[in-house]
């Protein structure tokens, strides 16, 4: 399992990719995702183009010096959500296709697959894979708070980024609280699949854990708010961030990446 702390460990590494300005990385990932999503849904060049982008993203992963096992685990953790829907596509008849051609393949149970469904399903899976690779690359090379700072500089309203930055700070705290609750439950041999105790009781225990995390996070918010007031927090608060200049390597990376995507689109 990949946990929050693994993500933090990877994003605190030091590499040319990690050192890029978070705004540039955010922009790059958004551009990749928008390009990939807006590719036509059925097109003979889709798979080659998507493969080329995936290769480029994996090259960036290598440059960033990320732990490959960790990276693959993270992709695998997300994959099942979309995999099922993509795999079922060949058996469906895409509603946006007028004429479909059945694939000459005999299957038991009267199932049939269509050529369009197959193409659409494989494109869907490839697009999905490229998108999650891009996001995981972003989150493994950019610290969460830097991402929030980047959002602030891009022009997301300050009140919203204030909320986000505080949330990111407490994410780890409540992850730890959850872990402690789990350990405490394990020491008491609490197991959600235990058939020896009534289900109702199990659900009650889980409900109590939920309310416990809820109340704790609420109280943490209150405490933080009071200490913020003590330190002079008001509506005219200012946030200070370090290094805000986009430098030459950042621009170079952006140019290189847009160039590569354009080349992939034109020449492939």
């Amino acid at each position: 399992m990949v946990t929050l702390t693994d993500i933090e460990r990877e994003s605190y590494k030091n590499s040319p990719i990690h050192r890029l300005d978070p705004r540039i990385k955010l922009l790059f990932v958004l551009a990749v995702i928008i390009y990939v999503v807006s590719l036509p849904r059925i097109h003979e060049k889709n798979l080659v183009r998507l493969l080329a982008i995936e290769v480029y993203l994996l090259l960036l992963v290598l440059v960033a010096g990320l732990d490959l096992k960790y990276f693959i685990l993270r992709i695998l953790a997300i994959l099942p959500f979309g995999l099922g829907i993509a795999l079922i596509q060949p058996f469906l008849r895409p509603s946006f296709v007028e004429n479909y051609t059945p694939y000459p393949l005999d299957l038991p149970f009267g199932l049939s697959i269509t050529y369009e469904g197959l193409v659409f399903g494989s494109t869907l899976l490839a697009k999905f894979l490229v998108c999650i690779t891009a996001v995981i690359l972003l989150s493994s090379t950019t610290r969460l708070r830097d991402m929030v700072a980047a959002a602030d500089r891009i022009g997301i309203p300050g009140e919203f980024t204030l909320l986000l930055s505080m949330m990111v700070r407490y994410l780890f705290l409540f992850w730890a609280v959850l872990k402690r609750i789990r350990v405490a439950q394990e020491t008491r041999l609490f197991n959600i699949w235990n058939r020896g105790v009534p289900r109702k009781w199990i659900l009650k225990q889980i409900g109590h854990s939920v309310s416990s995390i809820f109340v704790r996070s609420y109280e943490q918010g209150e405490k933080t708010y009071i200490s913020m007031l003590c330190r002079g927090y008001g509506s005219g608060h200012e946030k200070a961030y370090y290094r805000a200049k986009i430098r030459a390597p950042d621009l170079l990376f952006l140019l290189l990446s847009t160039g590569i995507i354009a080349c992939i689109h034109i020449f492939v």
């Binding site: 999905f128 998108c131 009140e159 204030l162 909320l163 289900r199 409900g207 509506s235």
Partner: protein
């Protein structure tokens, strides 16, 4: 129920973003006006808590487990669906950008389903029911219905996107979330609300204590 990137075409995804954005802005406005602006930080810590709550496995039966969404829980505690919208927006943003769980282009649709639809339907179901059935059953039905309608909305969006046919989609998402929603969202929300009412009744907008003469704790702070 997190729709990933590329499962909704870009133009449709933009429409869902455009639909979700006013709700996000309104929820920010609510936080600033109703929560007397300064209390806004509480929501940030709460969003982190909900993030952890969503990671808790709840046994549904027959070997499957689900997890809570939590929009209705937050909405009931704060006494307004806007709280649910804001907290879920924060949670989905972090899930989308940090975990690749749920897409970036489809985040508008996800916020619409899990924050707006689930929060509003769930909360107002709860409000209509609480007088006749009592708070815990109202919370159960509200959370259940909120989750169910958001699953239905998700199935319809997937159909409009041309990714999944309507009837099988409705059947699969509907029955699955009907079962998951009862245990995972409904029962747990109801138990959690009752537990919060016992430990910190001052947090709740509504009075959940059965006996009105029961002494209520002073809000410390």
């Amino acid at each position: 129920m997190h729709i990933p990137d590329s499962f909704i075409p870009f133009d449709q995804a933009l429409i869902y973003w455009a639909l979700a954005l006013p709700f996000i802005i309104m929820s920010m406005k609510w936080a600033k006006n109703e929560l007397d602006e300064m209390k806004v930080p509480i929501l940030a810590a709460l969003a982190a808590g909900i993030f952890a709550i969503q990671a808790m496995n709840i046994p549904i039966g027959m070997g499957t487990s689900g997890h809570m969404v939590g929009a209705v829980l937050v909405a009931i505690v704060f006494g307004t669906p806007w709280a649910g919208v804001l907290v879920l927006t924060l949670v989905l943003l972090v899930q989308g950008f940090a975990f690749a769980d749920g897409g970036i282009t489809t985040m508008g649709a996800n916020i619409l389903n899990m924050g707006v639809i689930s929060g509003f339907i769930g909360y107002y179901t709860y409000v209509t029911l609480r007088k006749s059935t009592g708070t815990s059953i109202a919370a159960l039905v509200g959370a259940w219905l909120g989750l169910f309608t958001s699953a239905i909305a998700c199935a319809i969006q997937m159909w409009l996107a041309g990714t999944f046919p309507l009837v099988p989609g409705l059947m699969a998402m509907g029955t699955f979330h009907l079962i998951i929603g009862f245990v995972g969202e409904g029962l747990i929300t109801s138990v959690a609300i009752a537990a919060i009412a016992k430990s910190r009744p001052d947090l709740l907008e509504d009075d959940f204590t059965a006996r009105p003469d029961k002494h209520t704790k002073e809000a410390h702070a």
